[in-house]
Symmetry: D4
Subunit: 247 residues, 8 copies
């Protein structure tokens, strides 16, 4: 049942050809029978709060470029994650920026940033995931502060960041190996904490599963956990919470 | 270095026995040398935003009762999770309430509730975990709405809850088996979503691991995931976010 | 948007208060805004082809009895799986039958059976799952033949069942331990095969995972695989295929 | 016991040298003693319903070409899965077609197609597996319709396909990540559903195991599950069911 | 094709109604069409070398007793594994013996024992599995020697058994925990070694998987490995090898 | 080759019957041929530094009592781990002590204790394992200090123990759930650290595997890790190191 | 205690300087104190029945060549497994032979072969492992027969090999994917069966673990199982059993 | 609160502006409020006993060189693990040494070595990990002895090393495959043992997990276990223990 048919139905109601009862009955089942006009999903950002983002991993360079250009043409904004330098070089978008640490590309992410998202990471190898979270949250409109290399083996360095903890609305904690940092941070603050395990480590780090499970078992209640290396997801969630807290 | 010694040090400064440089030097290493006066942790709730809660699973009935009574005497509030009816019957606390579905006990959780936490659950067997989340968030001070039995196999029932989705500040989604509900909900709203996998299922549900992994792999970005059956943690996180959003 | 509001909208169209364009625009988003009238799910069987069935495992005896009585009152049919004898004894339904091998209860499953569903099982311990599949498919309306104890270690016994293989429309194969039977059966017939792994075995049978994985890796292409011990699901699928083949 | 010996036995019966009882006794054990004349398996397609197909993964290009040519010479039909472009270029078969999305090669798959197999896929990355299923079912003789990119995060797009669901005889649902699509589709139709998990995803997608386990745990009863990325198997099973339903 | 039809076919040959070519052609496919007369499997022991044995685990006491009595009536021999004392007390078999360490029951296992099977076990907790292997091999007709408590932490005790190693035809090595004993024994002898992991241990012993995997990875080539706690299987294999070596 | 034969060999050397070369050659292979006189292992404690200890888990009460009495008679010392109160009540040993928290029994463990073993534990539920380590190290002769409930969520409580860290020779750290405590302790001290994961936790704690893997992946180099709940092993290792450091 | 010291000891006995008691006492502990003269392990083949073999996987080409040449110089025999063509080309050994299917190199393996080892394999991809077993058993001195491509999906082909089954002393069965072949073979013969799982397969074949676990769970008692792809180990064990059976 | 502010506070005390009570109260929370002056971690080696070491795996060559040069400039010592030859060639450090077996680089590790660390390894493939442990312990200041290729399949070779066992203070045992060597060594000595599993092996070695789990389950109590391939960690721990024992 496309637009045309619904309008015809409404005209039949207006002209009296169709009783209201019958029209109602037909409309009641409408979404389950035919919604092909809804196929073009113009309203995703409105519904979910996050615009379409291009995940470049496993896609061909030329395909990513084509999708990215089309998306940018429509919305004048762009975020590509897990992007190579080749993709960036092939884009025809003037104000695009390549972030090499996190391998992300942004374009036109806006100047006005709200609230305060704090991003902590444990080891130097975790920085790429932390950066992906930072670029994402900033692209979506959040003000972001990053503090790297505050792993639990040097606990006093973390304690030196207490002022940043207090200033933040929400905190992303990125850690690989034993994944202990979110618990320690959680003991020092009442802010919502988003934990991101990374695949950094070897042997029994099991590609990040150990850090993931450690975070899910934190002795601090209520830590939000993301999939392994999912800096992008953490950035999205942090932005949503930050936005709620900064209205 | 206890309170006495710090005060002596300060008196030495006042009396001129100790130069400022030397006093500073001694103080600099203070937290790493001796902080035994900090042992009594009066300030946990202030630091972490969540008061001490009694987790009754695996503890003896008489021990839980003793801990709970002591905690209530100090703070005039109480939350016990995974509690048996025996524990409730043994408590001497007048205004304690037993919530049988979630096996929680609350006392004096306050009348004024803020904001709007929405809790959805997929199957009838997931209700106990959803209830634990509801009791927790409510105890901490959030207004809570629950909608049960809106699993993905009957997707139109979920869609009938669109008004609740829109009214909420944050949404907890509880599901076992294939754990698909958070993804579907995430496609319909821009609110932060907290997903709680349950151990409901058999065979390859692997005690809830399948639902957990499915939620961590959601095609909707930024879903916060909790440990299996961790309704309490979800309630804590939802309350923190709700509080931020309701100021 | 409830029934009332839709009818008011339609009256506004008829009376000319609302243009067709505006009415269309409002209706377009209808299913995503409010569908609370759809809450009562009368039509599940029509939509999915399988009526509501009571899964008794993990539920209290009195609850199962209450749900079962209510369901029977509405539909005059009943299927309960993983049911104890206590549940059967507590039911007030005259024509209910208890099947002890599979621990299922049926009532009023009808006399006319269609087509031919063949159910094979490997070991004597797999019979309970095979029986659950048989009771389910029969309850839904399929004619069922069962051949038990035709495991691969005595391959000539299976070959003696070639006539049954040829007569069937669809074949369910139930096996635990190494789960090899579906592959061997698949080499002897062109019928669709539904494989059900059971949790029979010890050590590296891993509670049925080994049989499950073996079936998913069958060298015979196109074998349908169910969750471990899921005789009920196999019965549902077999009935659907049998029905299609027997029209 | 080869052909010669059996014929000698039969001649001994005709000539009266051997009683019928004795001849019967000898013949009874025949298949277990010696069946070397059965070695050449001319009748596989008749027995199993699926012709020999070449699985190219892990084989050398020249070997695949040799096997494929031999097979085509005998049967004048050909299906190669997981095939590289190099294999296609090396084939001497005039009417062979290369399907790049699914990396399959078909030759002479026939014009007349029966019934209606519907193939849905969740993400753009799942298309290669969906295409393999489509090419396979079509090669075997089924009419195939494909609808891609109807993942659960945009549930209304799926609902726009209700007409296709109704028209189909059997439905293949391909999904990676959380593997939720088969459950949602299963809530909207009474057709047999074949679920194919894909290895798309990272971290806890565990190379497709999470999607697989989610599908095996679907809250919709009776979903047929295939091995990870096994589009070929899904095509075979769908064709068998479609054939039964289209007689 | 049953007995009757084969005999009719043979009569047609004798009477000349059927040419030898045609009769041969019909007979060629015989085992794949119908072999229902082969259903009664009188010849298992002849074919596989091991008589039917009753595995009591998970079966009801009365069922085990019924099966055991029937089996004993037919063959005048009996072996039941994982049997309780209740089963033994309920048996009506005069010469039955209960072996409490291994929870096995034997009857009439014969006096003449051949060859030499040596059974070593590592810890005192592994003795039950070792005993099951010993009872089984002895029941089948092998002479058995057992040496217990020769774990790798006291390597010189094992070395004191060198004479037994030299005298044996085949050696069963039973070990839990780290499963190291088969490797050490394998370094001291050229006899075939059958390794049996046990479920003894805790934590990362993973119910015996660690010992199993260690044995499969032995640095000594050619060690035969059994399923966890499968003393019965080890006894069967050892007996087969011992028999070959003692002819 | 028993004692007698070796002495005969030596006498043949003395009497000149055997050349030194030949005697040497015979002796060279001695330990691999026959060492049955070494069977009685009187010297285990001398060789391994730890006396025989009774592990009561999974053994019958009467068996444990018999073994314990025999051991005590020989060595006048006794340690039983995982012991029930019933075992203690059945022992006839006058100076035996039952330690209920760790379920251990000791007798005559000596008064003089050396060095300083520090034992830290994270949660109240980990105390039983920590106590087992404490009782073991003390029984073997080490001076032991315990500090419980210093989990990472309250990091300042741990810092208040800096003086104990400095005084110790070796530190045992016991933790369940996310297993983070050893890393944090390791950042504060240069003492050898022995980490013991416990099975405390639920869901993805996987019975202690998560804490174990986290400890093996500690960002602090050189932490010694024990099996899950293995307080006894930790006590043994700590004692060995403490002894070396306290000579 | 080296050779010199033992001889001195013996001389002291001869000269009367040392009593026999004292000499005995010193010798008793000899193997545990010092056996450095035993360091050169000339007698491995005698002790274990299998000569040193070179496992080339993961070693550098030049290292393998050096080790192989040295080994051949000493023993005039050679077996290298998992060898590349480059290694073969670099060897200076005149009678060396390269077996490309199994990537093994043999030299001077002898003409006289004993007994009868039968090697069956399921799929064409399993042939490389089967060939490794064949080359190994033949190199060690066994007569070997191979029958490839007798997978369970074409069960009558296997039955055509009944004569070979009967003629063999021991049977190696190689299979990947669902690993069902050993069970089926085990139902047809009383010979010892050695099952070798291969890593052939994808998805839930888990690199061969599924085939391995299926074989360990065979419903036929007493099947010997090897590590994944361990054709060499199977060849060693088969040879040992064949040798015992062919004396 | 930086240095300046603390000194101002102290001056306020001296000048009488601030009471001792108030000053104490401010100081009490100092480490949790502001410790930014502690950010520069000059004292890691003092606190933890191990200097900063560069872990090169997964880092870019130029980054490792930059970090290494900076570290060397500050401390005049250097250890890089998992280093390529390219890194070594790019370093400007005169006295740097490349250890190819273990892929480590050291500079200026000092001449005076203390105590005695014994390092044993099982197979030739385990040598790289053993060497990493040896280089590390030696760099930190320990005297190191290595004995390679003493696997359990040739147990008498190990016994020839008894003198080295006796001379050592602490023993590192490196083994892959079944990981049995630490148990055997533990039966022969009372020294603390540090077990290092390696990833050497295939199939069920599971990348070293099997050896790891075997070591954690050793029947010898108190073996310290490291992560897979973690020679560096073993070297650190051995050095710490050796240092304590050699004071």
């Amino acid at each position: 049942m496309d637009e045309l048919r619904i309008k015809e139905l409404l005209e039949s109601v207006r002209s009296g050809k169709l009783t209201i009862e019958n029209a109602f009955s037909k409309l009641k089942h409408l979404p389950f029978e035919d919604l092909s006009f809804a196929k073009i999903d113009h309203h995703r950002q409105i519904r979910q709060g996050i615009p379409e983002v291009v995940f470049a991993e496993g896609k061909k360079t030329e395909d990513v470029i084509a999708i990215a250009n089309a998306l940018y043409d429509k919305s004048k904004k762009l975020l590509i994650t897990k992007a190579s330098k080749e993709i960036f070089d092939g884009l025809l978008i003037k104000d695009a920026v390549y972030h090499p640490l996190s391998r992300t590309i942004t374009a036109n992410s806006g100047k006005k940033k709200k609230g305060h998202v704090l991003i902590l990471s444990a080891g130097t190898s975790d920085i790429s995931v932390a950066e992906e979270a930072a670029v994402t949250a900033s692209f979506l409109g959040s003000k972001v502060e990053t503090v790297f290399d505050v792993g639990v083996a040097g606990i006093h360095r973390l304690m030196g960041s207490q002022k940043s903890l207090n200033a933040s609305k929400v905190i992303i904690v990125v850690a690989g190996m034993e994944g202990a940092l979110p618990s320690v941070v959680g003991g020092l603050t009442d802010r919502p904490i988003i934990a991101v395990p990374t695949s950094i480590g070897y042997g029994t780090s099991l590609g990040g599963l150990t850090a993931l499970f450690a975070m899910l078992n934190s002795c601090v209640p209520g830590i939000a956990v993301m999939n392994i290396d999912n800096g992008f997801g953490a950035g999205c969630l942090a932005h949503k919470i930050n936005l709620l807290a900064s209205k």
